[in-house]
Symmetry: C2
Subunit: 293 residues, 2 copies
């Protein structure tokens, strides 16, 4: 794979929000091979500094989540949906463990999408996704998503060509409707290198405690790497929209991935700026009643 | 409320597992007023030592959860269900935040039960609970549960007497069936004192950032305290079974609650002793194929 160490549009002064650095441009075809999967755009230093920065973000993320949830109890319908996509071993599960672990689990709605069940197959492809959306005040997490229906579906020709082509516009329209209903979408493509995937698969093979994460089919999927990269390029081009842009997160370095996704979530939650609602009761009167009990 | 500082059957040498100390005896009516809600049976010291011990438990809990999940990928159907019950402010939500926060969120299935919806009301009372059960390998958490159907339902006479009386046996039979299907039930009653509830409600009133957790109905429920205590005593008596005992956790001290529930979960998971499954593939062959790609 050719590679230029230019990172994803690294800013000169480092002052831009990370979302600006990592956002996939709307309507442009990007060449994934030109993005270094080991780059660390915007990072506050190397591994130790990055991990420390991630840990420092945790309390703010938890506080913002609490405010988002609190606001929903007074009718605020806003919520956030993190969509994680990437090749096997790119760190979708690791992100849930290390980043989503910062949040109060009661306000998270997590769904890992596998091969569709017969019931799911009997419905239009977006159906199963609509069943798993976050409710107002929640943070939803999709480990894989409706994008599988234009990724593996394209690579393995699971649907007729015209049907596949229609799906991109359907996805864009669906996501636009979600944003209009109060959903902030944070779509993250975990950009892993071919070499790093090999190392991570070998690691799983070499550790009996990781064998459960491995299956022989992973090697067959890996043989289709170029077709998957192309399918991602097409999906990023057609579905990175103003309403719901994609973010390209270099994923060869796990510490960077954790820092970058924590930061992206923090930036989006801070922009929502959810507020604790005012109580609809008379505090003095409630105090009096309580103390007289 | 009368109170004796005897804790819940504190063991003399402190060597018994916590589950032995806190288990509600099968078939006996207990007098909640005799249990000190500020007691700390089995605790490794006071607040600082208890909090430190809880933090030390976290990696083991996470490791056991991973093994439980890994085992499910090879067909092990076992899973754990933590049922949390207790009066308002007794710490059900705090337990989810502070104890369940130790686990990988992707393996947790959390459900908070509120007043039943019209759809839920159209079904038998156990229906909504069956929709929220943990899948094999998961840790389920019920914040309130089917026990509300013999607690508020009794206190507020929401169902005819004979129907209510039948529910206890239905619950016991339902839970027995769950255990036979591989579910380890950990039913925790958070035992709070009347005085501590007042203080916690006042705290919510006095902090505008906590107003969203308060509603005036909380004061009306509190007025029914003795009826609720009696309803809990009856539920503990009739539904603490060999298959699925209740645990009484004194809940006035938050650090103790967190330590005790972490410890109870750890004891149950350790007893399950889930194992990483063996891979069903030829490691050498997979290595060779990977390295030749």
């Amino acid at each position: 794979m050719p590679k230029e160490n230019r990172g994803a549009k690294e800013s000169a002064d480092g002052s831009a929000p990370l979302r600006e650095l990592l956002r996939v441009p709307v309507g442009e075809r990007i060449d994934l091979a030109a993005y270094d999967a080991a780059a660390t755009p915007g990072a506050p230093g190397k591994k130790a500094a990055g991990a420390a920065a991630t840990a420092r973000l945790a309390p703010d993320l938890a506080a913002l989540q609490e405010r988002l949830y609190a606001a929903s109890t007074a009718g605020d319908r806003r919520r956030l949906l993190l969509v994680l996509q990437g090749m096997d071993t790119s760190g979708k599960g690791g992100t849930v463990k290390h980043v989503i672990g910062h949040f109060n689990p009661s306000g998270c709605r997590i769904r890992a999408f596998k091969a569709p069940t017969p019931q799911e197959k009997a419905h239009p492809f977006l159906w199963r996704v609509t069943q798993a959306l976050p409710r107002p005040g929640e943070i939803g997490i999709f480990d894989r998503s409706h994008y599988e229906d234009v990724l593996i579906a394209r690579v393995r020709s699971l649907v007729p060509g015209p049907e596949l082509e229609d799906r991109y516009a359907e996805i864009a329209a669906f996501e636009k409707a979600l944003t209009e209903d109060g959903v902030t979408l944070v779509k993250v493509f975990l950009h892993l290198s071919y070499e790093e995937q090999r190392d991570r698969l070998l690691e799983r093979l070499d550790d009996p405690e990781k064998h459960w994460k491995f299956n022989a089919g992973d090697i067959e999927e890996r043989a289709l790497w170029p077709a998957y990269q192309e399918a991602y390029e097409i999906a990023l081009e057609r579905c990175s929209t103003e309403a719901a842009p994609w973010y390209l997160v270099p994923a060869d370095r796990k510490w960077y991935r954790n820092w970058a996704i924590s930061t992206l979530l923090g930036e989006h939650l801070a922009e929502l700026d959810p507020r604790y609602p005012k109580g609809d009761f008379d505090v003095a009167e409630c105090r009096r009643r309580l103390l007289s009990q």
